[in-house]
């Protein structure tokens, strides 16, 4: 019987969501699942990738109520009989965790972190969480008011990073720039805002799949090319035992369940490795793990279905990804279908 898997995060834009690479990885899995896209907007590029998904559905934004999301998922389930949902965005996790028990009763399965784990890896809680661990963190301050920036700048200086609670980080060189970014981020994602000391160095990230705090599988990637938004546009798999060991320790400490990304920076001056943040879902470069020999989205799918997932951390280093943009030509009828019916069936 074909497994039906629905995946969110289809916004394959300049700061891409992980949905499309998750779908691409699942497409290559021997499980041969049938794939469904869940999008927040008509123009999310993943909606139009008929070679990956059989259909796509618009779902309510994360700031809508959980009940609306539940209602919409049940509607889609009635039509498509979904077996597994893989939420791929930070901001939607709370809602999916909240409705997962009800959906389990309808035989829709998840493999999600619990609320405690989610909170422990939160940018605002990381220092507290890892206080007694041997993990370096850049000096970080959580603020509610832009007036605090000047005071903190006296301690950490400029440039500094200004980060939103969910997404986006800016490199501020002056107080004026920092204040501008504060209001931009507060308006978009709400408060608090995170101020972080700028560490200059090479960015190294880990994409991991963890089960009850046990790191089942992971791949380490060094960014080779970074966009102005700090996103990896090219990267290469590397072997870094120190980062692997640190990732294993951190995931165990937070008892992580599910996919995630740990972002590190190796300071040029000292060679010390700092943990920047932990993202509670697979990163947009997750397909690189599949290309390097470890299909992490497939592992998450198997875990969602209740299968055992043996530990496997053996991957090829030197596998490179280079992201690119592609102008897809889309029939107007697709836009019409998504706009008027909030769904698109590629097989129609």
């Amino acid at each position: 019987m074909t497994i039906r898997v629905a995946v969110t995060g289809l916004n394959a834009v300049d700061s891409p969501g992980p949905g499309v690479p998750i779908l691409r990885s699942l497409k290559e899995s021997p499980l041969k699942p049938s794939l469904i896209g869940l999008a927040y907007d008509v123009l999310e590029p993943g909606n139009f990738m008929g070679d990956l998904i059989e259909s796509s559905y618009i779902i309510p934004y994360p700031n809508a109520s959980r009940d609306l999301l539940l209602e919409r998922i049940l509607y889609i389930h009635e039509k498509k009989k979904i077996d597994v949902i893989i939420p791929a965005l930070d901001s939607e996790l709370d809602n999916f965790i909240a409705i997962s028990d009800e959906l389990s009763k309808k035989n829709i399965h998840f493999f999600l972190p619990d609320k405690k784990g989610l909170k422990m890896r939160d940018k605002t809680m990381l220092k507290e969480t890892l206080d007694d661990e041997d993990v370096l963190l850049p000096e970080t301050y959580i603020i509610q008011d832009s007036a605090a920036i000047a005071q903190i700048a006296e301690k950490i200086g400029f440039p500094m990073f200004i980060k939103g609670i969910f997404y986006e980080a800016f490199y501020a060189r002056t107080l004026q720039e920092a204040v501008g970014f504060f209001y931009y981020l507060a308006g978009k994602w709400g408060i608090p805002i995170i101020l972080q000391k700028c560490i200059t160095g090479e960015e190294i990230n880990t994409c991991a799949f963890s089960r009850n705090g046990k790191m089942i599988s992971h791949v380490v990637m060094k960014k080779m090319y970074v966009t102005d938004k700090g996103k990896a546009w090219a990267g290469v798999t590397i072997t870094n035992p120190e980062v692997s060991k640190m990732s294993e320790k951190i995931l165990s400490k937070i008892g992580w369940n599910g996919g995630c990304e740990l972002e590190y920076i190796t300071e040029n001056k000292t060679g010390k490795i700092y943990l920047l943040e932990i993202n509670p879902r697979f990163p947009a470069w997750v397909y690189l793990t599949t290309a390097a020999g470890l299909n992490l989205p497939e592992m998450l799918l198997r875990a969602s279905l209740g299968e055992e997932t043996p530990v496997n951390n053996s991957y090829k280093s030197g596998i490179v990804f280079v992201r690119h943009s592609w102008d897809e030509i889309v029939p107007m009828s697709y836009i019409e279908s998504l706009t008027t019916k909030a769904e698109l069936n590629h097989k129609d």
Binding site: E202, V236, I238, N240, S317, G318
Partner: protein
């Protein structure tokens, strides 16, 4: 001289090098290839000099300077210690 890192490098015939630990890539010329391969084989600098003098058209004075510069570069990239 510790050449453990050199032993882990992926080196192609074109002189393109990938360090799987740091993710860095480098390109080296033919003489650089001879030096790196020789260091990997545990040969000392004197032996490497003789080998290059036999294969390439250079003076001992020039070669000593070039090898010394190359070793400094390898050290700066943490490829030897």
């Amino acid at each position: 001289m510790d050449v453990t890192t050199l032993k882990n490098l992926a080196i192609s015939d074109t002189g393109f090098i990938f360090d799987p630990f740091s993710g860095k890539t480098f390109t080296i010329n033919e003489v650089g290839m001879v030096i790196i391969q020789s260091l990997k084989n545990g040969e000392d600098v004197g032996l490497i000099q003789n080998k290059i003098m036999e294969e390439f058209d250079t003076t001992l004075d020039q070669l000593e300077r070039d090898i010394s510069d190359f070793l400094i570069q390898l050290k700066e990239q943490s490829l030897i210690q």
